[in-house]
Symmetry: C2
Subunit: 314 residues, 2 copies
């Protein structure tokens, strides 16, 4: 059986079985630390419009987003980078500058790494953070609110603008090519939220993850999902539904989290101090309710399947 | 300028410069931990005779050898693995079994990881270990002895036997395809040695690394290098010099270390308890002595340049 016939999730299920690990995720915890490792593969993860500097920035942010989603404070970063031998040194140096500046920005110390030769560019980032009690995907409780840290769909809109060469939407393109991890928000959520995940794989998939891991149901209110109204213009031009952009495309580095009513107020207060906001988009329900979305006054099942590597096409 | 025109070491020099890090190595330390990340690329690192199970074993051992060379006790392991979508699931599962069994063998906990799609197999292993004071390459002092933990050249002999299809040397082939990290020895060396490195990149290169980082010279006695006499037969058949096999080919997972005369005795005593031995092959000299080797009663300069990715061919 080939990986393409099984799809990413079945592959991971079988790996978990053999490796006798509870979860096989981008991130894990040990002692008072969390660690994330996330590979960026040129061909499948990096749009050709992304500059080398932006690739370096992206590599760090992708990992810091994993650390943030565990409610931890990022501290250290390493890389294992593979390049073909006909790569331009200037390109590699620009990636390094992107890595350096992003580490500096977040007060993360670059520790070192490994450089190898391969037939395509594969960059693995490894981030380490502190947390005595890491936030998990599986901690949501019935009655909790479901929230996001910012507006959704901007990165996806940026990709549509890029692919279809629609001018005038630089704000979205920037969100697609230079996503920024919610580092400060993650540290606050670590103290108050009941569960957390980043939504880079799409909002619907992430809601499904929280609900399944927490063994609960969820109701999302489509009209409460915060988004930039200009996304509707992109949707129109590209003949794609707003729903697809907001729920399924992913690419945003916002955090999806759950918290009790009381903790929501604590989070809101602490977010204010860092000029950040939270948006309540739904609530956790009993498991037998299922995972649903209310849209145009109708409550329907939410498709939470998401993108699958090895099988789907990017 | 392309990476192939610069070679691995110049590439790394430039990366160090940008990333403002003291060393850009496979391993680094933070708080009371050491961490190593080491990528295994199918095309350049894995002989086609290596089974999937052996690849998994190799990935863990390569990283545990880095942890051992820092005198640390390995504790945790993660992977970031990339596969083409037409990879057989059974192949991936066998790699996972190799990883699992090797982690179990050394009491290392597998924490999780990341799986992505790429055009070739790239496996990054990440190992974490405990050490309050990690051993460095740069700690050798004038008067220290230079030692190795076992016989040299067996892995290289195994590769020659494989490539030239010479039957009857399974003991060497096993050393090439299933190298075992000197985990227990590393923990002992952490308490007594002044510097340490593994010799997977070749004995001569590793001696050069210790000497250069420690700002000292070195004298190696060729006839004290321990090796299996059958290597001479392989050298004969393949028309390659014994010197090349012992000094330059690499692939052995032995540790090269330095220690004072007194500490040598402590190490020897502790090694005995784990049925291990040490072999004194030279001594640290003043820097202006250079890095030399005594062979056939002549003292000559030792070529410590080693293999360079991006430029040399494997």
């Amino acid at each position: 059986m080939l990986l393409r016939d099984l799809g990413e999730r079945e592959v991971i299920k079988r790996l978990i079985n053999i490796l006798e690990v509870e979860e096989y995720e981008d991130s894990a915890s040990f002692d008072n630390y969390v660690i994330s490792c996330d590979a960026v593969v040129k061909r499948t993860h990096i749009p050709r419009e992304m500059s080398a500097y932006q690739i370096g920035k992206f590599l760090v942010n992708a990992n810091l987003s994993d650390i943030a989603s565990m409610g931890a404070e990022p501290k250290f970063f390493l890389t294992s980078m593979c390049f073909p031998r006909d790569t331009e040194m200037e390109f590699v140096e620009e990636i390094a500058r992107g890595i350096r500046d992003t580490c500096l920005k977040y007060g993360v110390k670059f520790l070192g790494g490994d450089t190898k030769e391969a037939c395509e560019i594969v960059l693995v980032g490894i981030a380490l953070g502190y947390s005595e009690k890491p936030l998990k995907r599986g901690g949501a409780r019935v009655g909790d609110y479901i929230c996001v840290t910012g507006s959704i769909g901007s990165a996806a809109a940026g990709f549509y603008a890029l692919v279809n060469e629609i001018p005038g939407y630089e704000k979205f393109v920037k969100r697609a090519l230079e996503p920024e991890a919610r580092v400060k928000e993650g540290i606050i959520l670590g103290k108050h939220a009941s569960s957390c995940i980043d939504i880079t794989d799409g909002l619907a998939y992430s809601i499904g993850e929280i609900a399944k891991r927490s063994n609960v149901g969820a109701l999302i209110y489509f009209d409460r999902i915060p988004y930039d109204r200009d996304i509707e213009k992109i949707a129109d031009i590209c003949n794609v539904s707003l729903e697809k952009i907001l729920l399924y495309k992913g690419g945003d580095y916002e955090l999806l989290f759950t918290a009790s009513k009381e903790e929501i107020e604590n989070i809101r207060d602490e977010f204010k101090k860092i000029n950040s906001e939270l948006y309540i988009i739904g609530e956790i329900r009993e498991k037998n309710f299922g995972i649903k979305i209310k849209k145009d006054k109708k409550i329907i099942d939410l498709n939470t399947s998401g993108y699958e590597a090895f099988r789907d096409f990017t």
